[in-house]
Amino acid sequence: MAKQKVIVVGGGLSGLMATIKIVEQGIPVDLISLVPVKRSHSICAQGGINAALDTKGQNDSTWEHFYDTIYGGDFLANQPPVKAMCDAAPGIIHYMARAGVMFNRTPEGHLDLRLFGGVKKRRTAFAGATTGQQLLYACDEQVRRYEAKGLVTKYEGWEFLSAVIDENRICRGIVAQNLTTMEIRVFKGEAVLIATGGAGMIYGKSTNSTINTGSAASSIYQQGVPFANGEFVQIHPTGMIGDDKHRLMSEAARGEGGRIWTYKDGKPWYFLEEWYPAYGNTVPRDIAARAIYKVCVEMGLGIDGKNQVYLDLTHLDSKFLETRLGGILEIYQNFQGDDPKKVPMKIFPAIHYFMGGIHVDWKHRTEIPGLFASGECDYMYHGANRLGANSLLSALYSGTVVGPSIVEYLKNMDKTSLDVKSTVFESQLKLEEEKYRKICQMSGKENPYKLHEEMGDIMRENVGIVRYNKKLKETDEKLQEFMERYKNIGVSDNSQWTNQDIVFIRQLWNMMELARVITLGAYYRNESRGSHYKPEFDKRDDENWLKTTKAYWTEKGPRFEYEEVDISLVKPVPRVYDVDGRQGKKEAK
């Protein structure tokens, strides 16, 4: 059989980790990324990464990490894969430290840990407040090492457009476009991994990078792969609301002792500490975000009458703050002007993370053989709400699972992409070329960036922290209206060289498709669970809704199916944070 090759789309933590796993088996990888992989969005992650390393003498265990993750996710996550992730976490951190990550150390030189939300023990390893950057760099360096050996070929500045799927519904490669020369071509490969990250741009403004459009995930959704749990979108309680972006102030700020407050009756009111005495400021994100929303929007008690409350670090030692939170203090000071060591920060919840994503099985295989997905673009590990510092872990861990899973798939293959009829590739290529040509010719009145802004505004307004069915329905209608208006877009750039305009227009359509999945998924799910909150149905409803949502693309919009959740390890219990409600903290023997 001819030499096999794997195509990895996405060079964030997950794609890079998978690449390392695959090339360590001697199989070459073509690595495709919109940007130099060293600039991928994983770089933004600040606070840290969870693993029950137990270097603080607290008797932490991987079982407890597992339980906290399931409980924090309101029991929507399939339990066995989460268990496997938590068991593997310490080994992953050990590797990352060996590979060069400058994690903070204890006085004896061991890996230091800090507290994060929704947990009782110190379980978060960190490198200052730029943990994602450090992890990404270490993976990038390992991949560069294999690149120098000729095992990895990077295609940076290329955009994945669609998968090549043959008549037997097997994936044989991809079509991608060079964003400088605008060349569109086929990449043949025995397996394709989509590790393209989150989709914050669907909401216009979020904590995400501008490249996080979810376009690649949307594209394979439109090719028949179901999108799971789209309605579960994490809203981070502590964002800096900006005009261009909602920058994040990491949960680490609260983990290290930061307090949230506003004025009530002229006095500081620490409402999280009052409402949730068992966890105080380190309640999980959905709980904190809803509390801040309630204080500002419903009670009208925001600072200066605006939608904002204080995140206060001023009582903490400034040297301590520098070594543990330096990176985010710098961001606040640079963009806001005040020094958070001296003045409390002003924050409000912001769109942050997609628990939902491409539907995969436990080996990260999609329903199309040869097509895999991992990282934030999959749906596997966080249920209805993600615990802080668990997604760097799931990004890396899913990479360590999908790599070997691909290798196994290659072993059992009977033919390679070279044996596939050339017309299979040619027809997909033609399709993408045609689509591109059509966009080039768009000469209507709508400006794509303005249309995008409108979409983001309505998504944040109606498909955010608090959701009402009437508003969700209206939003879906509005989205369909946008899709009509899309046809009337005019291209402002006619160049065939580095044309960012056309690229954005193509992404915008894909964002709209996913926006409908999110909105309608939310509309149908008549309960409240984790990040999904409907005042009209304010209880979790396990009888009817302990189910994974699966959206399938059809021409008329998403069609929904539901799938049982694997709860074979721990029994669902009510999720509360005013008292310690966890009932399975110790492993049942």
């Binding site: 940007v35 060293k38 430290a97 060069g100 903070n104 030189g109 963009f335």
Partner: protein
Amino acid sequence: MVREHIHLKIKRQNDPQSQPYWEEFKVPYRPNQNVVSILMEIRKNPVNTKGQKVAPVVWECNCLEEVCGACTMLINGTPRQACSALIDKLPDGVIVLEPLTKFPVVRDLMVDRQFMFENLKKVKAWVETDGCFDLGRPPIMNERERQFAYELSRCMTCGCCLEACPNVNSKSPFMGAQALSQVTLFNMHPIGKMNREERLEAVMGRGGIVDCGNSQNCVRVCPKHIPLEKSLAQLNKETTLHGILGWLKK
């Protein structure tokens, strides 16, 4: 004084072969803007000050929080990130944007910085790990040393230091502070150290540390405040020592 308009003067270029030209744009003033948000505003209505509808300006950005390094350009002549260049902190008057000059222009404000990534290969800026499996606890590390290494590890390959360096130019193979400083970093890592000599040798030839004139322009422009002067001094010491030792062994 509050601006009425934000007035940008941008050096544009359609592709690597064509000649650069200047184009100006005016956008109504709003508080709390930065250079990226203004460029985003322009693409919603790409009309220049002459009232002509033109192609939107091409530039790079991802993170918008000064951590990915993508949006680096010359702003009023200084190399820095556009996302953290707050309009309210720039002096009144026209804001001038130009692409970095030490890298080939792709289009408008976008340049090709592959040179820096290639240099990371040359200096072997990685740890030679046995593999990504679990080998148990990593070596312990002194927290004080770790703090210095951490500062070096925050380099985001933005290229400001190369832009400001008098010795980096198209006629010289000098790699500049960015890649050199990575050698210091990896030579401090408990496992990375084991391949210390290979890295030192990689920077002892042409284009390496000897080409540094020690003018320290790099330190002054590094947005991450990386102590490049210390990093390069340490590297200088190490290479000198390595040179002498190598000579003695002959």
